[in-house]
Symmetry: C2
Amino acid sequence: MDKNLTEYKSADIIIKDKKILDIGTNKAEKFSGKTIDASNMIAIPGLINAHTHAAMTLLRGYGSDNPLKVWLEEYIWPIENRFVSYEFVKDGTDIACYEMLRNGITCFVDMYFYEEAVAQRVKQSGMRAVLCTGILDFPSPGAKDSKESLEKTKDFIAKFKTDEQIYPCVGPHAPYTCSPETLEKAMEIAFEFDTLFHIHLSETEFEVEQIKDRYGATPIKHLDNIGILNDRILAAHVVHPTEEEINLMAEKDVKVAHCPESNLKLASGISPVPQMLKEGITVSIGTDGTASNDDLDIIGEISTAAKLHKGFWKDPTLLNAKQALLMATREGAKALRLEDKIGSIEKDKYADIVLIDKNTPHLQPMFDPYVQIVYSGKGLDVDTVIVGGNIVVKNKDVINIDKNYILDRASYWYKKITENT
Amino acid sequence: MDKNLTEYKSADIIIKDKKILDIGTNKAEKFSGKTIDASNMIAIPGLINAHTHAAMTLLRGYGSDNPLKVWLEEYIWPIENRFVSYEFVKDGTDIACYEMLRNGITCFVDMYFYEEAVAQRVKQSGMRAVLCTGILDFPSPGAKDSKESLEKTKDFIAKFKTDEQIYPCVGPHAPYTCSPETLEKAMEIAFEFDTLFHIHLSETEFEVEQIKDRYGATPIKHLDNIGILNDRILAAHVVHPTEEEINLMAEKDVKVAHCPESNLKLASGISPVPQMLKEGITVSIGTDGTASNDDLDIIGEISTAAKLHKGFWKDPTLLNAKQALLMATREGAKALRLEDKIGSIEKDKYADIVLIDKNTPHLQPMFDPYVQIVYSGKGLDVDTVIVGGNIVVKNKDVINIDKNYILDRASYWYKKITENT
């Protein structure tokens, strides 16, 4: 997935000190060390999930099929207020990391609460993650208001700023839950510490109307009006941008995390991704949380995206297989401001590599590997996952997370939630 | 998936002479025989794929991402004309049966060529299938015109009419490839032998325009005008019905095989399924062939359907998880005219049962099994498949099809096709 989309029919990938030292045919001869035989595999870069709320695995599918207002007000929010704690986030993140690694995801962007717990579990799992606490003007798990969240965000960034697995950032939840002042302060922190600024933006028509009512502008224009629309922003969803807003995002190099399955399931709508790509906007792909998706499978997500936009915009050439895989790899890395570190299998980048078992009937015959991965591939076809040179999934087994332990914890939370609601 | 959607928290299913003898709590005590311990499993009826072209596995993903005309005229049709043979269909069907069984599909509707080869391979695999030769007015693999196809159809039906695995039927390809005379003759055969009548109908806007030009009516109305719109019809796709046509289908009890992923990938459009369900039409679900999907995964397909219609019609309560699973089970059986034999786990129906391994992190915690299967489940979560009381998939291994053999055949056809095109 390098700039030329170089394809190697048969090649060696040399890994040293967490990074890719070299790649090409017959490169291994002059090196010694541990070898992985990947003859029946396709090697692709580790997949990047550009937007999720990992710990929400513990609310997987909860309150599905209800109107949005009922789902949020009668299911999700009351449960979050009662149960979300350091312990909840720790256990939920474990399940999420297991599922993501099993599906070939090596790096994800998380916005939730108790991000110290997330950071701890991510490091244990061997993954990478871009993490931020969701900043809201009202009380939220772990903080009484946005002032406290902003302070915690600073501390969190300071603590992990030089970590090689954790990339801390600033996460104001959305323009309808954060005042202009909160958003401005959040952006100041992003500049002060040189981080990403992650936000939900233009997700629903309701949000668009609400922001127009309050501030006299649509959400993206609103951010521009208060002077914070810039290239640090990774905006999740962006389902309802106006044409003017698309041009604005292109001009200011705002990045988008497209979450098609969540947008469909919550009936938010269908994002104009082909138009944004045409304008040169960096569009990455995210699963969103499992309460609104309900899985953490990026191959499934790009497959949905690639088909959805063809059907909805009535053009079968839109979002082809290469573009779809780019969203989950190199474009994803760019969206996370990590394009010099991950997103492709190239010299000097981290050795974050996924091996897909191609010796399976549903991937054969393979006329085009991109097409086969995107339209026929499954997250569960991933056989081996390497992050920073360490093997973290082998023969489809996730190495650093105890499956039975996390299933026990899922069972514990299931009982706790169902017995107390 | 019975009429009351009865859920058993813990139950025994008693199987005798291919059928379900009894079901309920502590029913096993008075019986002896082989036992399957399914304590960590969910038992659901065998899944039904209501529309596919099985042997097209050998063209999986071929020519993807091209405009429809280019895809058909430069990729699919020339390849089919050159390569489709008894041998091709035999090998392609093996791969399809493997993939379908692995994904919990126990019965499928196939329209292709050399259906004797399909029947032979289906019987070998242990599955059930409703099979028809695609009837076209022009030359097609195995027949020079529709007259020959109609004759072959009669012979095929006569041969398999009493088979317990193969349900032969009549398959005129579409109103734009079959004259009114051909359609009428096809319907006569369906009446004569009391079979299903399977047809592609109202798939693309182009088809609708073409039929309007030729016959002065939209496709479904056209079938009504020539006097053959009735309850034997299982219509694949139905993407562009008018309101009048929806009412007509409801009145005449025409069944629909919804193929959302194919309709998206080929940019055919999005079928008004919620409206058809509201009018009481039986809507089943199909994958279509793997050249336009590109997999044979019914859990994936109902997941797409359940999300797509919420997002497209902007209502998160549409096509809920139970309705989605019904499309793949009881409603599927009804669409195939097999509702007295399959589609639910009920006394006196065939023991076609799928066991899903629920002890996996991406299915836990499980607040609602329907929700979890539809939105988080994967075909690959299927652990055990039973058809007519016979175990055909065990511990995720397909028993009656040799994986290495079919991979070799895929490789053979890959070489043959790529070296000669």
